[in-house]
């Protein structure tokens, strides 16, 4: 199980708590994790990635294991500790606007 921490706006939309877990078959990448989150919580479609291009929304960032993974390839493998469920994959609203 992959742990995913969602920001407050998305928790409200999905009616969940701070952290959700999703089943992801290897390889565990940004794309496969986000695909799984959108599969389980379809109300989040379009909120983290553009629905058509699949690109990260400009003010959304991804962190894990104290690393900013926002600009990594969506198909790059996530850290092993995320794949093992030891560390969460974090979706964050970027610091912007004040």
């Amino acid at each position: 199980m992959i742990r995913v921490i969602l920001p407050v706006h998305l928790r409200t939309l999905a009616n969940v708590g701070k952290e959700v877990t999703v089943d992801v078959a290897p390889p565990v990448t940004q794309r496969s994790v986000l695909d799984a989150v959108e599969r389980d919580y379809p109300m989040l479609l379009g909120t983290m990635r553009d629905r058509r291009t699949g690109k990260r929304r400009p003010l959304v960032r991804f962190f894990a294991c104290e690393e900013d993974l926002s600009n990594d390839s969506p198909d790059a493998l996530l850290p092993d500790r995320v794949a093992k469920g030891e560390e969460p994959f974090m979706v964050v609203g970027a610091m912007a606007g004040g």
Binding site: M43, G46, M48, R52, R57, P58, L59, V60
Partner: protein, 344 residues
């Protein structure tokens, strides 16, 4: 008062269905997480998310950007939701970048009425300061095939075939910065208003100028008259008096607050040209707020009620056609949308 219902989101518009008073639509968006549409079927007590897949029909094409260069259409948010007068499952949505969408299944699927965005003039449309938004949708109460929309900064448009084909209706509009006399498009229309018993008469608050048409938009004439400034955003028509209209002038295009620190609604009882300030109950010193285009509404009670919200988070109401006002709510975030329902 209840809520907050969508905390942290910018709610550009909330609008109830005339066909089912328990059905209410809300458009919430944000810079981080995009656009979501919500629907309530119990008068706003609870809400469910419906679809928010707003795709442009191909070919997507291009419009002008601020610098005059072409740029592909890019969806940003829904500014306005207009439910059908007769079918609670039918609702129209106005988008930035400007496009018109329609759902016939209660918001589960949205289809673009692409005849508007593919109009021959569309490559010349460009954004106003707030973006290239389709912010006004009027479903004609008499002719079910007639729809009016307005886009900043393209202008006003009319369809007489249910949204399949469109024509610009901007004759008579004069806009500083448009060199071409009688330009078909390029006008920054801020808001249109219509009275249900006089559907061919429309009123317009433009970037500068208040105007009216009596032939469904074929020709417009300025009715700014003795307004202290004819720059503003909202315009509304009295529920029972088709010649009584309301605007909230602000200082200028660069100073988006009311003049002299006085919050004044201006009313014309003659369909324009002659205007009177309405001030009773409104702050008349040290007030520097704006009233946005979708933030004014009228009810249909016998003594018509008028309501508006401000960028300072107040909602004011008048139960006597604007003669006297009181603050109904204070200390909200900036108010983007005010709508009113009279329940059966």
């Amino acid at each position: 008062m209840s809520g907050p219902h969508f905390p942290g989101w910018e709610v550009y518009h909330v609008n109830g269905s005339p066909a089912d008073p328990d059905r209410i639509w809300a458009s919430a968006s944000g810079g981080w997480f995009g656009q979501v549409i919500h629907r309530s079927d119990d008068g706003g007590t609870s809400w469910q998310q419906v679809d928010h897949d707003f795709a442009y029909e191909p070919p997507v094409g291009e419009h002008l950007w601020y610098d005059g260069t072409p740029r592909p259409w890019e969806f940003k948010r829904i500014w306005h939701l207009e439910p059908s007068r007769t079918d609670p499952d039918v609702v129209y949505a106005g988008a930035e970048d400007a496009a018109l969408y329609k759902s016939t299944d209660g918001g589960q699927k949205w289809v673009e009425l692409a005849g508007l965005r593919t109009h021959a003039s569309a490559p010349k449309w460009q954004p106003g300061a707030g973006g290239m938004c389709l912010h006004t949708i009027i479903l004609d109460p008499v002719n079910p095939d007639r729809i009016f929309v307005a886009i900043s900064a393209a202008g006003a448009f009319r369809s007489d075939d249910g949204g399949v084909s469109w024509q610009p209706i901007n004759r008579g509009l004069v806009s500083e910065g448009i060199a071409e006399s009688g330009a078909e498009v390029g006008h920054c229309v801020h808001r249109l208003a219509q009275h249900p018993t006089r559907p061919d008469t429309l009123f317009m608050q433009k970037h500068w100028d208040v105007l009216r048409t009596d032939d469904a938009g074929d020709n417009w004439r300025e009715v700014s008259g003795d307004l202290p400034t004819d720059f503003g955003f909202p315009i509304a028509v009295h529920a029972h008096e088709p010649e009584t209209i309301y605007v909230v002038p602000i200082t200028s295009d660069s100073l988006h607050y009311v003049m002299d620190g006085k919050l004044r609604v201006y009313r014309s009882r003659t369909g324009g040209d002659q205007w009177e300030p309405l001030t009773a109950g409104l702050p008349q010193e040290n007030c520097y707020v704006n009233v946005l285009r979708d933030a004014m509404a009228v009810d249909t009670l016998e003594s018509c009620g008028i309501y508006f919200g401000t960028s300072g988070g107040q909602v004011y109401g008048s139960a006597d056609s604007g003669d006297t006002w009181q603050a109904l709510v204070r200390d909200l975030p900036p108010v983007l949308s005010v709508e009113v329902q009279v329940l059966p």
